[in-house]
């Protein structure tokens, strides 16, 4: 799949390698790079994994690896939580007694 010029995409790049990071980091962070992601309009046609420049909402031109074509928002409300489902009824009972 290719991004089309002008399509909404997400790019990523390494913003800081482990050696360029802050000192005194916990071990789990020290071992990895800081990665940045930005969404914007593709300035060229590219395949996933290829280098691409985008124009962001703020008008900046940023370059990185194309990681998502048409990136959406998929976070949700999650599954019903039995521990919480019980709370409302119990509180109403408390107020009655």
């Amino acid at each position: 799949m290719l991004s089309h010029i002008g399509s909404w995409v997400e790019i990523a790049w390494v913003a800081m390698t482990p050696s360029a990071r802050a000192e005194q980091l916990p071990q789990s962070s020290r071992a990895v790079s800081v990665v940045a992601k930005v969404r914007g309009f593709a300035l060229a046609s590219a395949a996933l994994g290829e280098e691409l420049s985008v124009k962001t909402f703020a008008g900046r031109i940023l370059s990185g690896t194309l990681v998502d074509l048409s990136p959406g928002h998929t976070h949700s409300f999650g599954r019903p939580q039995p521990l919480l489902l019980a709370v409302g009824g119990a509180l109403r009972e408390e107020l009655k007694s």
Binding site: M16, V32, A58, R60, L84, V87
Partner: protein
């Protein structure tokens, strides 16, 4: 590729250009600076700030009396105890949180100075607030967030905040875990020449003062008295500082200022592996304790948020208690709001039971709720990260390992931290920054002001 140390070394230079605010004017040698002088020189009076906020629909949020929750608290309180609980519904601000107050003045000021855009480093509601205010004033906005662990897994609450920023037309730069966020933010300031809409400037803090003023005015009207206590969700210290300054400006000098945070003790905020083991991304001890005990770790030369100057007490509640309080607010009062804003509600429920019936305690904020920013979203995510969920006594929970939803409302408890210990910790941090050499008389005086520790304690800690 940039290096963290090199960028941070240029912090003063970059932030001075990106704020147009002369911090040097207030320096008084070494550790000392003229805090009140700095706060009184924003160029905006309280009346100006109210007018500016009104222009973009910020503030004048409803103060709601939580009658059912008050009734419930009284059931468990000793006879004659159980203060009236009020809640300031800050979710009614344009971007859904009190952060709109903070952003309103920064963005107005940036527009006045002719900046093309604003930048903020925030994984919280402040991003949406800056983006929303920038949209209203016709400025560009860039929000830099810490969102993902190194496996690319995003915290649901922060993903939602990123979505909101995008909805308001901001560029959202999303980073993996680490304090490098601030360096990358400075780079964005440097390369764009945009305004630094930091959370910690005098403008940001002055914007919150209206919240304190409104609370006092409305409580006087509704209850014919000053609020006896205001509970403030405490993170970086701006919420406490701004609200308390407003309460003082309104003349409610006997009102107790109480900070409340979610206990995330034991979790390291810069740790890639701890990052997704927490269910709260703000209002927690990972911010509030370090910022209370050393405010000048912020993205400005001098932090305007200095909570030790104002806190009468500071304590914690657990993640499970806040989720429970969020459910309580929805089910008993008909207000579905985001969990992070309800930290102070959980605390107030416990605190009200220790106060007289005739007294008034105010929960100082709510925030909007949505996908990700919701108890079910967070508990579902926590479970997927191996956190054990159960019902029982929340005081037995261990942050990052378990969340315990109270099995009974009586189990909600506000765990007070020692203010003396916090003051001592502040003084030790200050002395570490001082390095070699004796404290000047002005530095001693400043440390007393900034920590509210008696001079004898400052002298004892410094060995002078």
């Amino acid at each position: 590729m940039s290096n963290y140390k090199d960028i941070i070394a240029r912090k003063k230079e970059i932030t001075a250009k990106a704020l147009g605010f002369d911090y040097a004017k207030y320096e008084q040698g070494g550790l000392a600076f003229d805090y009140e002088g700095m706060m009184n020189n924003t160029g905006y009076t309280l009346a100006d700030i109210r007018r500016i906020q009104r222009e973009t629909g910020v503030g004048n949020t409803p103060l709601l009396e939580l009658r059912q929750i008050t009734r419930l608290a009284r059931k468990y309180a000793p006879p004659g105890k159980g203060a009236r609980i009020f809640l300031k519904d800050e979710a009614a601000n344009p971007s859904g949180s009190f952060k709109a107050r903070r952003a309103a003045i920064s963005v107005y000021h940036a527009a006045k100075l002719g900046y093309e855009g604003v930048v903020a480093a925030t994984s919280g509601n402040y991003g949406a607030a800056v983006a929303s205010q920038a949209a209203m004033r016709g400025l560009k906005a860039i929000i830099v967030q810490e969102v993902y662990d190194s496996k690319g897994l995003g915290q649901p609450e922060i993903l939602e905040k990123g979505r909101a920023c995008e909805a308001y037309g901001a560029e959202v730069m999303q980073l993996t875990v680490g304090p490098e966020l601030f360096a990358i933010f400075l780079q964005v300031l440097e390369t764009t020449g945009f305004f630094n809409a930091s959370l910690y400037t005098p403008y940001g803090i002055a914007g919150i003062e209206t919240l304190g003023v409104e609370i006092v005015e409305e409580v006087r009207q509704r209850a014919s008295r000053d609020p006896d206590a205001v509970v403030i969700t405490h993170a970086g210290g701006g919420n406490v500082t701004g609200t308390a300054r407003g309460i003082i400006k309104a003349g409610a000098l006997s009102c107790r200022i109480i900070g409340a945070s979610v206990d995330l003790g034991g979790l390291h905020m810069a740790s890639d592996s701890d990052f997704n083991r927490k269910s709260f991304t703000t209002g927690h001890t990972g911010f509030s304790v370090p910022f209370t005990t050393w405010p000048d770790r912020a993205d400005v030369p001098r932090n305007a948020a200095r909570s030790l100057r104002y806190l009468d007490s500071f304590g914690t509640v657990t993640q499970g208690e806040v989720f429970y309080a969020t459910e309580m607010l929805a089910q008993l009062e008909g207000l579905e709001r985001g969990p992070a804003g309800n930290v102070s509600l959980a605390a107030a429920f416990a605190l009200a039971q220790t106060m007289d019936e005739g007294q008034v305690i105010v929960v100082q904020e709510t925030e909007y709720t949505g996908a990700g920013k919701h108890p079910t979203a967070q508990l579902t995510f926590a479970e997927s990260q191996g956190i054990v969920l159960s019902s029982g006594d929340p005081s037995l929970s261990v942050p990052g390992q378990s969340i315990i939803i109270p099995s009974h409302p009586k189990l909600i408890c506000f765990k007070e931290l020692s203010m003396e210990a916090l003051r001592l910790s502040y003084l030790r941090n200050a002395l570490a920054h001082k390095g070699e050499g004796q404290l000047s008389p002005r530095e001693v005086e400043f440390l007393c002001e900034d920590s509210r520790a008696p001079q004898s304690v400052v002298c004892q800690v410094s060995g002078q």
